[in-house]
């Protein structure tokens, strides 16, 4: 123990004597350890930390899909859920949740909140009871949707100030009086939720209600379902039961389960369902910060090697005085560990700031982003990192320094020639490693950057500039017929009045409505083409269904290619006007004019629609997916509770937000308005996932780039200073400044060249890892590889040039004399 304290004292004293060295090493390590800790905190929260439910390893997510259309993780219907609960033996229980928008009124400012109607067993399946109040019972649903609600801790705090008397209070939810019966624990998250707006309220629904117009419809697939397996049962067993049910349903309910569409039922462990999609991106980031740390360690190891050279005499004296190799290694390792600890402490501060920034940055798309933080496992990871890096970068220099050639060092002999290159070889190897790792990261960041640039340049199919958007959810009480907006006439009346009010706002040039904004979700329907029955081998025909107002295309600047747009359609008995997009026209009428053709919407019993026009494609679902078939109809014929305003403005759209909101409130002061934002933001949100990876990987690649360039400069500067004597000899033998420049640059660029070749090979080998993150660019895009290699090469050349310039100015006489 005494030896430890002595070594520690020596280490602190030694580091204190070299403040510049200590500062550079600590800062380098802080960057590496900080970045690793921050990303690990994300990985820990998202991938590693068990879900905050009882026995989460027994929870599974059940979903449906259509293989022929590439649809996965789709919701399921209430009858399906009921069958699963009855017939899947490996399941102990399963619950359904139907996410909805709901307007909270009657208690302060009206607010739209994300909510869900859930089967009464929802919380018991998760194994999480309310923190306050009580859980739902079957009786609460009252056969349909109950008039009681559980709220989240956050909503309780925000709207009720955390007052326990909120339990028993009645609020109005979509105009229904609902009694709050409980508050969920702090931090409780709905298992499958929209990451942008967490669910804050749950109401019970009776999913066993036999009314086919309520929920008893196999094709009304709206539920996200969580199941709890019996102890000891496996996901594979559940899947086998689902497969058996699927095969039976193909025969039993051919209308609901299309074999040709490849309908299927899937089960996944709940954590996998939640985070499986983001796992690759997070692991890539973890790999990237690992590279940053390796580069940082290589830099510090290089500094230690240089320091060991200058301390060679001290170490030789210690050895000559009887110091064992072990004691010298221990002393040197103590110094490295102290450096790593200091770097780790500073890195932890960086990570604290970083995790908060990451949590905000990732909130839009990363599940469990709100759980990101520094906790005990993260601290343990940091401590392990400190230990590993301290030994990692300190061991080689310590081993080398502890083996001095006593005679040579103490007698200062060996002057007949310039110094050997053993230490230089190790240093050079570290530079090669740094360049290679930096290139791998730069190539990754370059690919993501090009990918993102392609994505940003994707034409969404409309002009987002100057467009303000907002959304409205009209209340839909449990007894809808008693609601203010039950009939289409009531809803249309509201929309007409609000459009008129918004049109009166100065600066609002054009006001249009759509049931749903582009890039804010799917709304797929089935349809038939009149006089063209579906081929038995053909998958069922589906298209995005978009009710809009007649001026929507003009307001959005979606080009009308043929025919006309949807009419006003005030006659509810007239055939429906349908406008289709270019993709649909090309698919079904490649050599014909689709205008005048007829569609039957929703199935054999659905309404007829006349195709009246063809418009340009719009990326409705995702920017990185080609446009699907789209059918636009008039909102006057298909009027929903949900509507989105698109307002073409004369100035900056966000400047109009306040006036537009006030104008809508004049029509209905209790109507919450949400999602008020420029359309450019809607587009930006659609690229949030890629932006997250891009920003972080670019940041880490940037750090790696700077560290490796510093490393190259450091090694070249040191090597040049070590070669002063040799350069003096060469100059005495007739070398001019050009030869000296070539000598030093050649040495630097040789190392950089090897690093670049290794880096390119590494990037090539790892390219497959990035494939899923890219859009419009190959993971082995030669242009990107070439560009980053040239960039790194050029900057490395500049880093080598500075020492080379110094070498050119070497006075041969003084360098020979000093020897």
């Amino acid at each position: 123990m005494d030896a430890f304290w002595r070594d520690l004292r020596f280490a602190l004293r030694g580091l204190g004597r070299s403040p510049a060295f200590t500062a550079i090493a600590v800062l380098t390590l802080a960057l590496g350890i900080g970045a690793n800790t921050a990303i690990f905190s994300v990985v820990n929260a998202v991938l590693l930390r068990p879900l905050a439910y009882a026995e989460p390893d027994r929870l599974v997510a059940l979903s449906s899909g259509f293989s022929a259309r590439g649809v996965t993780n789709a919701p399921i219907s209430a009858p399906e859920l009921n069958d699963y609960r009855r017939e899947v033996d490996a399941l102990q229980d399963a619950s359904g949740a139907w996410p909805i928008n709901i307007n909270l009124t009657g208690y302060g400012e009206p607010e739209r909140i994300a909510a869900a109607v859930v089967s009464p067993n929802f919380f018991s399946v998760l194994g999480v009871p309310p923190a306050l109040g009580r859980d739902f019972t079957n009786a609460d649903a009252g056969g349909r949707i109950g008039y009681v609600a559980l709220i989240s801790y956050e909503l309780w705090q925000r709207r009720f100030g955390g007052d326990p008397s909120a339990i028993g209070k009645t609020v109005r939810l979509d105009d229904d009086p609902m009694t709050i019966i409980g508050v969920m624990p702090k931090g409780f998250r709905h298992p499958i939720e929209n990451t942008a707006s967490p669910l804050e309220l749950w109401a019970p629904i009776d999913l066993t209600n036999p009314d086919p117009d309520f929920v008893n419809n196999r094709q009304a697939r709206v539920l996200s379902v969580v199941g709890r397996m019996k102890p000891g049962r496996t996901v594979a067993e559940v899947q086998r039961s689902l497969d058996a049910l699927r095969d039976r349903w193909y025969e039993q309910y051919p209308d609901a389960y299309s074999r040709s569409a490849g309908w299927r039922a899937d089960v996944l462990p709940l954590p996998e369902r939640l985070v499986g999609k983001v796992r690759p991106a997070l692991l890539i980031l973890l790999g990237a910060v690992g590279c940053v740390l390796l580069i940082g360690c290589a830099n510090v190891a290089n500094l230690l090697l240089a320091r060991a050279t200058t301390r060679g005499r001290e170490i030789a004296i210690r050895t000559a005085m009887g110091g064992t190799r072990r004691s010298i290694i221990r002393q040197l390792l103590t110094e490295s560990l102290v450096l790593a600890a200091l770097g780790g402490a500073l890195g932890l501060l960086i990570a604290v700031w970083g995790t908060s920034a990451l949590s905000d940055l990732a909130a839009v798309y990363l599940p469990r982003a709100r759980e990101i933080g520094i906790d005990r496992p993260v601290l343990a990871f940091t401590a392990a990192l400190i230990l590993v890096t301290g030994v990692g970068f300190g061991l080689l220099p310590a081993l080398q320094a502890s083996r001095p050639d006593l005679q040579s060092v103490l007698k200062d002999s060996g002057k007949g020639m310039t110094a050997g290159a053993r230490r230089n070889r190790l240093r050079s190897g570290l530079v090669v490693l740094e360049v290679a790792l930096a290139l791998v990261l730069l190539a990754g960041a370059g690919l993501l950057l090009r990918s993102f640039e392609r994505l940003v340049r994707v034409e969404p199919g409309f002009n987002p500039d100057g467009l303000l958007t907002l959304q409205i959810w009209l209340p839909w009480p449990n007894a809808p017929e008693k609601g203010r907006y039950f009939t289409p006439r009531q809803r249309l009346g509201f929309y007409d009045r609000t459009v008129a009010a918004v049109e009166a706002v100065p600066g609002a040039r054009q006001v249009a409505l759509a049931a749903q904004l582009p890039l804010r979700g799917q709304n797929e329907i089935g349809f038939d083409i009149v006089d063209r029955p579906v081929d038995p081998d053909e998958p069922s025909r589906t298209a995005e269904f978009r009710p809009v107002t007649a001026n929507y295309f003009e307001a959005m600047e979606i080009p009308l290619i043929r025919g006309r747009t949807v009419g006003v359609q005030s006659d509810s008995t007239a055939p429906v006007d349908a406008v289709i997009n270019r993709t649909m026209a090309a698919k079904y009428w490649p050599n014909e004019d689709p205008v005048g053709r007829q569609l039957r919407l929703f199935g054999p019993k659905g309404p007829l629609a006349n195709i009246v026009g063809v418009v340009g494609d719009v990326r409705q679902v995702r920017l990185d997916l080609p446009a699907k078939e789209e059918i636009f109809v008039s909102m006057r014929r298909f009027t929903f509770q949900q509507a989105a305003f698109v307002i073409r403005t004369d100035g900056r759209p966000d400047e109009l937000a306040g006036a537009v909101t006030r104008a809508i409130r004049t029509v209905d002061p209790e109507q919450p308005i949400f999602g008020v934002m420029p359309m450019t933001r809607v587009l930006a949100d659609a690229g949030a996932e890629r932006r997250f990876s891009l920003l972080l990987l670019t940041l880490f690649a940037g750090i790696a780039f700077v560290l490796s360039v510093i490393g190259i400069y450091g090694v070249m500067a040191y090597a040049t200073s070590q070669r002063r004597h040799e350069i003096g000899i060469r100059m005495a033998l007739g070398a001019g400044s050009r030869e000296v420049l070539g000598l030093v640059l050649g040495q630097g660029m040789r190392l950089v060249g090897i690093g670049l070749v290794l880096g390119l090979s590494g990037a090539w080998a790892l390219s497959r890892v990035l494939t899923s993150q890219l859009y419009g660019v190959s993971a082995r895009d030669p242009l990107t590889y070439l560009t980053v290699a040239m960039l790194l090469g050029a900057v490395a050349l500049a880093a080598s040039y500075l020492p080379a310039r110094r070498a050119m100015r070497v006075d041969p006489m003084s360098s020979l004399r000093s020897e």
Binding site: G414, K415, G416, M417, T418, A419, G420, A421, H725, E726, I729, R730, M731, A732, L733, G734, A735, G736, S737, R738, E739, D811, P812, M813, L816, R817, E819
Partner: protein, 236 residues
């Protein structure tokens, strides 16, 4: 550069002043010295007398603060660094006390290095290097590294490097200073041979045994040539 030019080296009023902080050190003062082609001159004097400074100026490693230096009929005291490097490569051979071989290069590569700087082609370079190494008896050590040679062999390699390009003048700074007496004698015998072959030799040495080898000795004291202290064996 024609060897017939006489004198081969003419120094006129050469001074070298070093400035360190506010201290001015006169390393050489008003040196006048002529050296004929094919002459073997020893420069001697106590430590710090300016021998190395004189050799640096003669070898164009340094420039004089004052005075003129004419080498083989060309004034060289005002040449730029690049021009001086070219003259060094072409006309001057150095032998250092500390051998100054480059540790990462083989014996052959060390010897061929100045020839490379001179712009000599690879084949010609090989021939010249081989010839020089044969002359010093090290042809069998062609591919050895300096660390694999004894001190005497290292200095012989350094001599081969100095003479490979057949320089106009050969400058040796204490060439035996790092050698035992046996190896020292061998090296001095080698220099004698070179001189007998027509080389112009200027050797800085402390060792009275080797002073006798030179045709002429010049004595430096406190940066000045000591008048009347010159010895000229031939003249004498």
């Amino acid at each position: 550069m024609a060897l017939a030019i006489d004198p081969l080296i003419r120094l006129g009023g050469i001074s070298k002043i070093f400035h360190t902080d506010e201290v001015e050190t006169h390393a050489l003062s008003k040196i006048d010295l002529d050296i004929r082609a094919g002459e073997y001159v020893a420069v001697c004097g106590p430590s710090g007398c300016g021998k190395t400074s004189l050799l640096s100026i003669l070898g164009l490693l340094d420039t004089p603060s004052e005075g003129s230096y004419v080498l083989a009929g060309e004034p060289v005291s005002t040449l730029s660094a690049a021009q001086r490097a070219r003259v060094r490569a072409r006309a001057i051979g150095f032998i250092f006390q500390a051998f100054n071989l480059i540790g990462d290069l083989t014996v052959y590569e060390n010897v061929a290095l100045p020839l490379k700087y001179r712009g000599m082609g690879a084949e010609e370079r090989r021939g010249a290097a081989h010839e020089a190494l044969e002359r010093v008896g090290l042809l069998h050590r062609l591919h050895h590294y300096p660390a694999q040679l004894s001190g005497g062999q290292q200095q012989r390699a350094a001599v081969a490097r100095a003479v490979a390009g057949k320089p106009v003048v050969l400058l040796a700074d204490e060439p035996t200073g790092n050698l035992d007496s046996g190896s020292g004698s061998d090296v001095m015998a080698l220099l004698r041979e070179l001189h007998q072959g027509g080389a112009t030799l200027i050797v800085v040495t402390h060792d009275p045994r080797y002073l006798r080898e030179a045709q002429r000795s010049v004595y430096l004291f406190d940066g000045r040539l000591v008048p009347g202290a010159h010895t000229d064996r031939e003249v004498a």
